[in-house]
């Protein structure tokens, strides 16, 4: 039966135009798959951890900056974040040790993109269920908050 099938297939191919048809078919399927996969390119690209802010440099500890950061933290962050205990969001007392500075900066400055793309943030959203609001801090203010969190984590 098998040979018979193969025979029939070969016959069929011959009948409809031979191997040219096969190669055209293969070409069109491959081409269309390539085209189709291009549509999802954005997702494929992300292999290392997604971040919005990269290359944040921190110098020597700046107590004035940390103090300014504490004030901003009270106004823009403290409604949802405590230092030692879980609240609306995770505790941030030692987040400076737990995460990279780029991660912290990205999370402050563009939580929407982080929720969409960063696996750590995605996992946190599943746990806490409340999407972190974008409080529209300036880059400089975010650096001050970072310095405040550094002070908290390092006991300064």
């Amino acid at each position: 039966m098998k040979t018979n099938k193969h025979f029939k297939l070969r016959n069929f191919i011959k009948n409809v135009g031979g191997y040219k048809v096969i190669s055209f078919l293969i070409f069109s399927v491959v081409a269309s798959l390539l085209l189709f996969s291009a549509c999802g390119e954005q997702k494929e690209e992300v292999k290392e951890e997604f971040l919005v802010i990269k290359g944040t440099k921190i110098g020597e500890f700046n107590p004035e900056k940390a103090e300014k950061g504490a004030k901003i933290f009270a106004e823009k962050c403290a409604a949802c974040h405590k230092y030692e205990e879980k609240f609306v969001g995770p505790p941030l007392g030692n987040v400076f040790k737990r995460r990279s500075v780029d991660y912290i900066m990205s999370q402050i400055l563009d939580p929407e993109k982080m929720i969409a793309n960063n696996d750590t943030t995605k996992a946190l959203l599943k746990q806490f269920m409340t999407q972190m609001p974008n409080q529209h801090l300036s880059h400089e203010d975010a650096l001050s908050v970072l310095e405040h969190l550094r002070a908290k984590a390092e006991g300064k």
């Binding site: 029939k8 085209l35 549509c39 009270a74 106004e75 409604a79 949802c80 205990e85 409340t130 999407q131």
Partner: protein, 653 residues
């Protein structure tokens, strides 16, 4: 066997071809061309070309639509309380509805008027009239909120309003009802002797938009109906249509339709400014409210004013002229060049078109037929440029396109008539469904109309939509005017009666739209900047609760120590600093609406608890996955209770 394999191959080919030729499935489809639907179809996620601002008529509000889609984006509360937005219910907005008659929760809004710079809509503000308790409102087009309302003294029925001059130097307000001025307790039968019509010129500050009544002109006791300012060559003049030159005060339907001609008044406001400078005015004692919403404190204040400057035409030669206009004119519209003034005599068989240049010449040559109360009546033949013959029945309003054509609405025959400004000949007509009032062309009242569409604003819809009981919607109809023949594209329902509307290119406004109020700019006296500052203060029976919101909790959310007889103020600050994240607030049994608090805003709800018990409050605007958890309790104790004020939000650290 062969056959099934062949089908299999065909399926593979077709799937491949679909991908090859269709491309990525997520890419947007181009609009199908050629049919009517494609001309009004705005694909999901894309923007309309124009903002359309239509009056809400007897709803007292202003509606914002996308043109050409006809999609309703927002209803801006203006003269009427709006529980959806807390307008006129929150302590901050209540003063906006104050008048010399007290708090007035409603009005009838007719004519939106966009602010202009050099005769073009500039997208800064839009004004609208309150007809019943005469007022003019100004709406800011960065926030789409009403920021100022001024009451008009000596007026009764502010219909002829708030049409503006070409740099919005003034918005005007003619009274539809003449009344005794100053108003007094006299017999209505003294109409002819004692009743007068006041026309107000409201100065608009070019930088702040702030309104102030500069002066009024005390006109004969007629009914002042509509108005338009001159532009270009006629800048400095303003034209007002009027009926009831018979001065009837009963059964006006018949008695005000006796005279062959009524008038369009031409007022020279630059001349008026000279007379004011020369102090040729009389100062009248009046009472009117001026309400201003302060963007910094986010709170409105209402001030009562008591003087107005009045010019009397008899004492101010050259200030006002009458142009005889057939049969109770309604519309009074000025073409883009400023040369032609088109009268819409609602009972007339023709449309009279007056010439500004001829009017100036007639004044110079003293072509005056008679004088009424010191106002010279110019000779009709000396000022008329031409008459549009057989335009249809009941001509009302005229707007203009960018090709030198005029479009007049015909109320009685339910149609729009297109005619040429070159020879005043009718070019085309299209039926409307039904009983068109005003019509609008984007920029159709400016020096450079966009053209493209005319929108009919209809009073009656009868059989056009699914029936909804005795009360039916009014409607707008979008008509393509880009070709030789007008073509109906779309019908859409409107809120209230859309008397008049104006449209402006979306690009002029959309990028200036405010996204949220910055916390640091919030100077509200009862603002709470951060959660740790939330608190409750008692002073006698007045209790102030300083509360904050953020996704998704209130602070504080458990409150005790409130007593029956207390006057409780919830001062709630939304700590969010992102676009489109308002929080709502509602408490059981409040004789009030909800609050809807924008990011960075502070609003106040007054609550008078009447019975002991525990009262829940919650967020009314879905804010996050845990929105349903955004709630709290207030405990209310008897008046003589010793329970102390206490609050918490698990806010120990």
């Amino acid at each position: 066997m062969k056959k099934s394999l062949f089908i299999y191959v065909l399926i593979i080919i077709s799937i491949s071809m679909i991908f090859l030729f269709w491309g990525c499935p997520s890419s947007k489809q181009g609009a199908v061309s050629g049919d009517v639907a494609s001309k009004v179809y705005v694909p999901p996620g894309e923007y309309d070309e124009f903002y359309g601002f239509f009056s809400g008529g007897f709803s007292g509000q202003l509606a914002v639509y996308g043109i050409p889609s006809g999609r309703l984006f927002r209803v801006i509360p203006v003269f009427s309380q709006d529980p959806e937005k807390g307008w006129g219910y929150s302590e901050e907005t209540k003063p906006m509805l104050m008048t010399s008659h007290g708090f007035i929760p409603w009005d009838d809004a007719h004519h939106p008027e966009l602010s202009q710079t050099d005769g073009m809509a500039d997208g800064r503000w839009i004004f609208i009239n309150g007809n019943n308790t005469p007022r003019i409102a100004r709406i800011d087009l960065t926030t789409f909120r009403t920021v100022e309302i001024i009451e008009l003294p000596n007026s009764a029925g502010n219909h002829s309003s708030p049409f503006g001059t070409e740099n919005t130097e003034y918005v005007v307000a003619g009274t539809r009802f003449s009344i005794p001025i100053p108003n007094e307790d006299i017999s209505i039968n003294e109409y002819k002797d004692k009743f007068k019509g006041a026309i107000s010129f409201v100065k608009v500050d070019n930088k702040t938009g702030r309104m102030d009544i500069a002066f009024q002109v005390l006109m004969p006791g007629f009914d002042y109906d509509l108005a338009r300012a001159g532009k270009g060559k006629s800048h400095g003049w303003c034209f007002f249509s009027m009926y009831n030159s018979e001065q009837a005060n009963t059964i006006k339907e018949v008695n005000a339709s006796q005279n062959d001609k009524d008038f369009i008044a031409a007022i020279n406001w630059k001349k008026a400014e000279e007379y004011i400078a020369q102090k040729k005015f009389k100062e009248f004692d009046v009472q009117y409210a001026h309400n201003v919403f302060n963007e910094e404190t986010q709170t409105a204040t209402s001030t009562m004013k008591n003087k107005v400057k009045v010019l009397i035409p008899e004492e101010c030669p050259g200030l006002v002229y009458f142009m005889p206009t057939p049969k109770s004119p309604h519309g009074c519209d000025v073409d883009p060049t400023g040369e032609y003034i088109v009268g819409g005599g609602k009972l007339a068989a023709t449309i009279p078109v007056f010439s500004y240049s001829k009017m100036i010449k007639a004044i110079e040559d003293k072509k005056i037929d008679k004088t009424i109360d010191g106002v010279p009546v110019l000779n009709y033949d000396a000022v008329i440029a031409g008459e549009v013959q057989e335009p249809g029945l009941g001509p009302l309003h005229t707007e203009f396109d960018d090709q030198g054509n005029a479009y007049t609405s015909m109320f009685v025959s339910s149609e729009i008539t297109k005619w040429s400004l070159k020879d005043f000949k009718v070019i085309d007509k299209i039926p409307t469904y039904y009983s068109i009032g005003h019509l609008l062309i984007p920029g159709g009242n400016t020096k450079k109309p966009y053209g493209k569409y005319v929108i009919a604003l209809n009073k009656i819809t009868k059989d056009r939509y699914l029936p909804t009981g005795p009360e039916l919607t009014q409607s707008a109809q979008l008509i393509d005017i880009s070709g030789d023949k007008m073509k109906l594209l779309l019908d859409f329902p409107t809120i209230g009666e859309p008397h008049y509307g104006q449209a402006i290119a979306a690009s002029v406004i959309k990028d200036k739209s405010l996204k949220f109020y910055k916390m640091e700019n919030n100077k509200h006296p009862y603002k709470t900047s951060k959660e740790e500052d939330t608190r409750i203060e008692r002073s006698g029976n007045v209790v102030r609760i300083y509360m904050t919101t953020i996704r998704s909790h209130f602070a504080p959310d458990n409150i005790e120590g409130i007593k029956v007889g207390d006057e409780v103020y919830f001062h709630i600050t939304n700590l969010e600093q992102d676009w489109d994240v308002p929080h709502g607030f509602a408490i059981k049994g409040a004789e009030n609406s909800e609050l809807l608090i924008m990011p960075g805003e502070t609003l106040t709800l007054k609550w008078l608890p009447k019975k002991p018990g525990v009262y829940p409050f919650y967020c009314t605007d879905f804010c996050s996955a845990l929105h349903q958890e955004m709630q709290g309790y207030v405990r209310v104790s008897p008046a003589n209770s010793q329970i102390k004020l206490a609050w918490n939000t698990q806010n120990k650290k």
